[in-house]
Subunit: 224 residues, 2 copies
DNA sequence: TAGATTGTTAATCGATTAACAATC
DNA sequence: TAGATTGTTAATCGATTAACAATC
């Protein structure tokens, strides 16, 4: 057994795991049972050495000249992410984004299952989103307790995000996946994961800006 | 003028810029014209020293004991992100996620404007999403050229993502914001920004897993 | 003024990358 | 076998953090 797996896995590696997972499942579906770090690196545009480091975090041992067993890697990565057991979650806010997330098939691959949807809007309560009925926020605590859910996905308007987050925590939720572009102030032991479109767009913007600047610089130097 | 701003800004700083921007705008709306790094750090749960470093990247100079001028910071950050001029983009794939993105009001704050929606589904073509009419994919190249758009937002099914991406590139698009959980293989000079729900959920999963492990460890050591 | 806050230089920390022996 | 690939140790790189003088 690889010793490194016993230490905590670096965050950048954790963040690369899902991409590996998707690719490995493609290989599995294609009937390939072995894959080399070189091959993974090529397909994901990473460096082979980085892939090998990442793979060493999974605890899976490879065979020189052959590579790694695809299925073993899949199992190991899913285990390290806790994706081998389905995690139930409730979703608050049946707006556009909320509905999109409920309908997002990819979640099945992450072991995430949205088992209840809650909203305050009377027009939405009672309607069905991808087979899940929207409930009144009044049922929040009862639902959390009855279903034994630990995670809430938050897709409410920014104005009420803090208030709703506090209700959710009061109901017993331990982790919040926050899609609202707003920082939540919550007790330290509550895990808040923010998915912020702005962060990703900021990265794209700055890359485009840089690329434009580089082009105009090249043009200028050609003119001289 | 601060010299550091002339060098390229570290990616982690770029990624923190949107959060600063939101908070600064809150302060501006509240009528506050000065803010200290200490205060920003507190609200965003960062360390003051990190905020000062980040602020130094904006090129804005602060005043000892007072802090930074809110409006000046807003302008500087928006400028560095290229958010001071509206950027037009087209969106391909009028599914749930696509519609959610078109309706996402926050984009106005990023200077992102979705000026056209394209889809292959005949049932969707001609319908209106938040005031923008869905067009046939046949109009792709014409639309890109006519509107002079450089960015495409991709929210199509994974199976067709590669194919659509190639069409989009052929039509003249320079940057792709890819919401499809699939790696695209495209020419090197095309900027692809991937927003991957799985990456964010992987982070949440591993944090929850770690927190559960820590709790059970504490419990065990208390029993001894 | 006294003290809070800035800005810069240097130290630390952690991730990536290089180098290379081990191995199938 | 020869050579591709793994796994580990050490070097490098870049971001975060510490320390502290400057300043309003």
């Amino acid at each position: 057994m690889n010793k490194e797996a016993l230490f905590s896995i670096p965050l950048p590696t954790i963040r690369r795991f899902p991409a590996y997972l998707r690719l490995l499942k493609d290989f599995e579906n294609a009937g390939e049972s072995w894959v080399s770090a070189t091959r993974l690196a090529e397909d994901l545009r990473l460096k082979p050495i980085q892939v090998r480091k990442d793979m060493s975090c999974t605890g899976v041992e490879g065979k020189p000249k052959v590579g790694f067993e695809v299925h073993e890697l899949i199992m190991a990565i899913e285990h390290h992410l806790g994706w081998d057991n389905a995690t139930d979650a409730i979703l608050i806010g049946a707006g556009n984004l909320g509905n999109a997330l409920v309908g997002y098939k990819g979640f099945a691959n992450y072991g995430l299952r949205i088992v209840a949807i809650l909203d305050n809007d009377k027009k939405k309560i009672g309607t069905t989103v991808y087979g899940v009925t929207v409930q009144s926020m009044e049922h929040l605590e009862e639902t959390v307790v009855r279903l034994g859910v630990n995670i809430a996905v938050l897709t409410v308007p920014a104005e009420v995000a803090q208030e709703v987050a506090e209700m959710v925590v009061a109901a017993g939720i331990k982790g919040i996946w926050n899609f609202v572009p707003k920082n939540l102030t919550l007790p330290e032991d509550i895990i808040v994961q923010r998915t912020d479109l702005a962060t990703s767009f900021a990265e794209l913007s700055s890359r485009i800006k840089k690329s434009i600047e580089e082009k105009s610089r090249t043009k200028r130097s050609l003119q001289n």
